[in-house]
Point group: C2
Chain length 265, copies 2
Amino acid sequence: MQLFLNKFFQEDDSVEDDSAETILVSTIDGRLRALNSLTGEVKWTLQEEPVLRSPSAVKQGFTFLPNPIDGSLYVLKNSSLKKLPFNIPQLVHASPCKGNDGILYAGSKKDVWFGIDPKTGLKMETLSSASADRICPANQKQTIFLGRTEYRVSMFDEKNRGKTWNATFNDYSAHLLPEVNTWPFKHYASSSHGYILTFDKETGEMKWEADLKQPVVALYLLRDDGLHKLPFEVMGKETMENVAKVKQRAIFIAEDRKPKNIFRN
Amino acid sequence: MQLFLNKFFQEDDSVEDDSAETILVSTIDGRLRALNSLTGEVKWTLQEEPVLRSPSAVKQGFTFLPNPIDGSLYVLKNSSLKKLPFNIPQLVHASPCKGNDGILYAGSKKDVWFGIDPKTGLKMETLSSASADRICPANQKQTIFLGRTEYRVSMFDEKNRGKTWNATFNDYSAHLLPEVNTWPFKHYASSSHGYILTFDKETGEMKWEADLKQPVVALYLLRDDGLHKLPFEVMGKETMENVAKVKQRAIFIAEDRKPKNIFRN
């Protein structure tokens, strides 16, 4: 069901720019996509576990709603939503613990290092505290290691065993390299869809747009030493569409060429 | 191979004292023993995973020596021992991370709640983020929940895959209830053996001694709400034996009765 944007760029006069870097976009469905930083072109896609798994049924009094961007938790009580003072990773760190209300919390955390080929996205190795699998023993020079953590939390009521809840949250950004301060672009992502708009920080010009069809959880810069977090602003869908339309029209008139990508509904 | 001390007390005129509480002693072999706080009598034993599992072979340059009491790590380099600034739980929390030397760290943490009958030590329930097993669904009133955490850490050298190391550390004290301030006893445990000496804080009188045959990792007080940490001092074996001998002789002379327990070599 994913429509990749490669075809748009295959039709273009593709300009190989040495200054192009690779942005990794983590979407809520568990896909990690490598995008060309100058064009937004999707180079490869890695399919992993969904960022968040939790019960979808809402039970009054014992329902938590997790935020997939940072794993923060909201509790639904008497039709009002209250943010809890901890997110899933913090809860896993503090567990095993017991609430004043007799709720037992049990957590688990599991790190995995993926050794990938940055050109193809192929997994060359998987290292975890459970095992070390080396898929391709030769040609290790190009391998870049990405760390991922799976946090799982379960809640049990000591007295009423019908009251249980659990959630799993996957995070690439548990412990990242420093943010890149000299990044020339500013990124915006839609809160409910997969739109990304990228602007040149200096000129304010829109560089590219992409629609990944799934809400964006995080952006990273892929360098030889691993992942660096890239900041992005969350924007409403309508605002983004309007910005994109105006920009596209401006590009049409000023440069007399096709827009590189078109928003679809 | 464990010699329990029950038989000594069965021969005694066993005095059931209402003020007796239950001390849990965690030993390095993974046993959790419930002792009568007034007599040192072993009431029951729970056999769990050993506190620490790590390679016993010493490799020059890539060998870590873990301390089973707190999971702290020492690195052996050029025949000198250096303490690392983190212990295994801290390393698991900080993982996935990469050292400046190209070492990749991967961790895992897994919480389990044991619901036990405090009278018998029988496990009534096991709750973890992986599963919830209820062994005995009826009669839950007496169940006390003990939280245990398994920390596992693995280290991989990015360049030389022969250089790997891993360790597992089990901890009951990850997140405990507050220490008990009004505890009337002072406990000493041998650093290399399983001797415990218990003194009355006020009178200085030795109350009881026990030999659990395995180094003591932690002491807890078992109350209805769970485990509370009890402090203890680590003492050399010879010092403990001398203290015990002197005390035993003193009791012999002053009270004209058998010592409650005898050190064995």
